[in-house]
């Protein structure tokens, strides 16, 4: 009787110890978590990305390749830009300086030229926001197949002064410094 009770008690204690020992984070085996990531451009194929310019700290704009189904026109690219960065892009630290209430009233392209009419006063946009719009417009498909540096943009608003012949100035494009992080 006594021996049986002692056995019960020790078995109970052993179980409790086992439970307590399970606290903490234990290593696991390899666990599969689905499909691989995708998005690598096959070398030698034509680029079919939308190239969008977003602001990035500490200032300046960065080009961003967003995968697209086919060739992206300047009109489509500017509309995409207006929608802002997606979650993954936001996590990379990219953001848009364009005010939320600014809409594209009209956009038209001709040989080496893009005309964009925005709601509000285009002159009151920050230089970075203006660069976002201009660079996004010129780096996507514009009739005439000119290099982006030679395409000009006529930017105007529903009020205020129009700003003709804007160009994308590459020197404003921010390049992050290269550093070697240690894990």
């Amino acid at each position: 009787m006594r021996a049986r009770r002692a056995m019960t008690v020790s078995a109970g204690s052993a179980a409790l110890l086992g439970v307590l020992a399970g606290c903490g984070i234990e290593p696991t085996d390899v666990v599969e978590v689905g499909l691989p990531a995708t998005g690598v451009k096959r070398p030698g194929t034509r680029v079919e990305d939308a190239i969008l310019y977003f602001a990035s700290q500490p200032g300046g704009v960065l080009p961003l390749h967003r995968p697209a189904g086919g060739e992206v026109t300047a009109e489509e690219a500017v509309q995409l830009l207006m929608k802002g960065p997606n979650d993954a892009e936001r996590m990379r630290g990219l953001y848009s300086e364009l005010p939320r209430d600014v809409r594209v009233v009209a956009i038209a392209t001709e040989q080496g030229k893009v005309r964009i009419r925005l709601s509000g006063d285009a002159g009151r946009l920050s230089p970075v926001a203006r660069q976002q719009v201009v660079c996004t417009a010129v780096h996507n498909a514009v009739p005439g197949d000119l290099p982006p540096e030679e395409v000009t943009v006529d930017l105007s608003g529903t009020s205020g002064k129009p700003m003709p012949d804007q160009t994308c100035r590459v020197k404003d494009i921010f390049t992050p410094p290269v550093s070697t992080p240690t894990p």
Binding site: C23, P36, A37, K41, A88, E89, R92, T180, P183
Partner: protein
Amino acid sequence: MRRGTAVRRPVLRRPDLGTVARGLRARLVVGFLLVAALSALITAALTFKEARNAILKRTQDTAVQQLRSQVASQVPDLRFPPSNTDLLKFTQGLERAGQTQHWFVHARYKGGRMQPDNVGLGKDMDVRFPPGVRDKVGAGVAAFQRIDLDGDPVLVIGLPVTYRDSSEKSGLEVYALVPLREDEANVRALVNAAQSGAVPALALSVVPALIAARGVLRPVRELRRATQKITEGELDTRLKVTGRDELADLSRTFNDMAAALEENVAELRRMEANSRRFAADVSHELRTPLAAMTAVVDVLDEDAAGLDPDTAYAVRLISEETGKLARMVEDLMEISRFDAGAAALHLDEVDVAETVRKTVQARGWQDKVTTDLPRGVRARLDPRRIDVVVANLIGNALRHGGEPVGIAVRVARHPDRGEDRLLIEVADNGPGIDPEVLPHVFDRFYKADAARVRSEGSGLGLAITSENVRLHHGTVMAANAPAGGAVFTVDLPLRTGEEEV
């Protein structure tokens, strides 16, 4: 029940520590504590396990999903096939994007060296990027593994990257090491919370345990008290029965038992009283005719000398037997007085040696009895009753034992109570008493020798002695001396009645 019989009282002692530890209360409390501890622990353990798994699963899912979306978002910017510098820039971009995860990203192309190239080869490589994960990634399957890196839990995610719009492997592999420090802290907080929750739960469980113990112990305590009362003679004690549980059943049974006991005892008492009254009545009724008979027989006895020898013999026999009958009736009446509780002590301060000497002289036993009577022993007792006691003992010794009979008086200190006792010893030089008879010598009408049916004694002498001694709150014992012969010892308090005032 005989009056004056000392009732053995149950001793009301405080239970010692061992009894308390094994008592019902302690056992109930321990039982409750064990159950509470077990349930608290199991609940805490299960909750903890679920919560920990949920925390880790969320972290893992978030990390994998973020890594996948970041790779998908940033890989279009990567020139392909990438140089080591391109890979380095790519991993830096991913690390910057994973600031909320604090992950460290490495990448390699077609089985080349990991970039950034700060990881050792061989063992270090295997530790940081377990072969299991690398094999899965090599086979084109995303995988993760939780490992222990220098004592810290780390999540290793391996993510192969395919070409756009096809499931063909591009050869690019991305690995992220996600430290689980925050999750570990959360898990530790969970453990602490479980612990700090279990201790008050344990402490609280003592309260219901005590309440339950009280509920069980109160009837038990009452039962104990009632049993004690019954033992002390209060046979009308009954328990209040409440509820319908086992303890109530026990109380009910106890009441039944007490009722039966009371009834039986009352019946026995009634029967005993009847028989005593009968004996008293009989002896009383016999006295008057006996007195007349004695008077007539005495007259006849005086004239016996003038009768013819046969008639004279018959007359002397009748006279003798009538005297014996008269003594027996006297003894019977004496016993009846004891039984009726009518015997009273008439205490007096006397010299014990003087009292005993008077007794011996009055019976004319000086020649047959040797006395050892120290002078100056004074005691408070009923001299008439002590006279009866001494006379009965000596008479008994003379009848059944051998001469010379010795009587000795001593004063001794009681070993337990520390009071002075008066000891009167009567010893004879006979063959002693059969050990089987010894316990019965003070019984009424008990004959030591069944063959010797007729004797001079009434058969009540020693019983009357015993009652007289009892009346003095003393005891009388019969024993055999080592040298042979019976020894009767009367043990009386030296000052009867004083300690009771």
